[in-house]
Symmetry: C2
Amino acid sequence: MTTIKEVAKMAGVSVATVSRVINDNGYVKESTKKHIEEVIKQLNYMPNEAARTLFKKKSKIIGLLLPDISNPFFMLIARGVEDIALKHGYQVLIGNSDNTLDKAKDYISIFNSHNCIGVISTAFDHHTITELIAYQHIPFVYVDRLSEKQHGVSTNHYQGGQLQANIVIKGNAKHVLIIHEDLSIEAFKLRYEGTKNMLTQEHISFHSCLATQIEDETQFERMISGSSIDTIICSNDVLAIKVLGMVQQLNYNVPNDIQIVGYDNIPFSEMTFPQITTIDQSAYHLGTKAVSKLLNIDDKPFEEIELIIKKRQSTRN
Amino acid sequence: MTTIKEVAKMAGVSVATVSRVINDNGYVKESTKKHIEEVIKQLNYMPNEAARTLFKKKSKIIGLLLPDISNPFFMLIARGVEDIALKHGYQVLIGNSDNTLDKAKDYISIFNSHNCIGVISTAFDHHTITELIAYQHIPFVYVDRLSEKQHGVSTNHYQGGQLQANIVIKGNAKHVLIIHEDLSIEAFKLRYEGTKNMLTQEHISFHSCLATQIEDETQFERMISGSSIDTIICSNDVLAIKVLGMVQQLNYNVPNDIQIVGYDNIPFSEMTFPQITTIDQSAYHLGTKAVSKLLNIDDKPFEEIELIIKKRQSTRN
DNA sequence: GTGAAAGCGCTAACAG
DNA sequence: CTGTTAGCGCTTTCAC
């Protein structure tokens, strides 16, 4: 690795001057600037980020804390974060918390030790979040965050839940099954309540169960047939895709016998047969916005992103 | 951020001694060690990685260069890399090249400027790889790499292609369509040749086309019906899932009318109906192995991972 | 066993 | 406009 010193020597100037041109600040005569730039190119010089970070106490790295990138929804956020971070000269260090507080804490410490400019985090439950913030001070931006008091981008999860309910109501839902993820995670809880309230209001009966409860296929079948379920509302598209497959294995026709709605609009939701009706959270956009907030390119500290209904084939009407 | 100096002062020792205990090297009296450790805990001290990196000229960061993490196959590799990197105290900086040489080069430079210990990269075509290595010197480990001369982990792609052919032959394939990704990428080319040779050997007729050519649905339909295709072999599962959906939209029964094989065994391949028959490359394992190679935990510089056939419902017999 | 001090590569005063 | 220099936080000789 060539250093700034070597560049300076070769160009016949001091390191300060070289530093001025690579950072494009301070006065440098145009001709010496040109000359230094040539030397830099010739030597293939790149500043050592560790040295810069040590001095500035801030690195060009963004810490990205996700529950699990294997869910395409988070992958989309990650790509959004990465693409725009790169555009602004930032790198992203990834951390999968697996929804574990310990891992999340560890990653935040790690991000801190790398002098990350900040961390972008997707939602934990409320209590966890406050604990995390208190844990170490580093700028935080939340994606899918909970309260207006925090910096971040989010969508209206309660409304999203209502939207799901509306869709199935139009599809003449009579007996609904809501399959949800861990309700201690605020986003899922809000959606759940949105659909629940909407269904109740329309006097439509429903059952609900946790995603983990459908692992057992025979139990799942009993649940479906026992309550003559004709509609399934899922917390997210991964779940919806899984459920679609299971329901089809049981020889039900989707959407005629059973209609299914998902959430997130992950790319695969459009590839199934039938294609899955879902609510688009614009995950990629959420990611790009989060970076803007973190880098203060964006004026507003908090923003709500519009939800988009993707009516497709897995629901009736 | 507390520094080593503060710890030293509070503990009433020199920074050198503190450094010795945090790195667990050199002689330190047991009692002073205990004392220092207490102070560290009390101050919640964590070493500044930038400073360490500056001195050591090597950071605790692994650069991970992927074509695109939105393909679950690469996501699996990424998770494998991340999980085991974390276990060894390393972080991972991600870079999506989008199969672009320019972006790949940029990322390698960036990884270098961050003093990454090395980069884990998934395959480009042969020419590109050599160019990349020449570009900057930093330890490289390839996943799905091409030649024995390079460090890395791979599977036998040619054999994988043969395996795909064998599966459909057992399913009584008469008119095969091979839908492949860019053949300038060695892995895809090898698989393609594996299937092609196997099919030729068995005197089974086949057509082939590039993945991008099936975007147009009507053209796809013509291709299928025109050649009375009864079998489709795909370069990867994402493609297979997409094709499955398209074929079903066209009212073909899978596998009776048309059987489909994928490649990779991504999680979604098991969630479709019918479930997709595929070849498992053990992507996660590939990722973990790559880290071991990079950190020299693993003795062998190169290793070949076994392919596993996942016979499921999308193929006949 | 422990401390003093040099120096990793860079930036930002400050001096000229 | 340009150079000199201190110092970011850490590790590692080298003394003692």
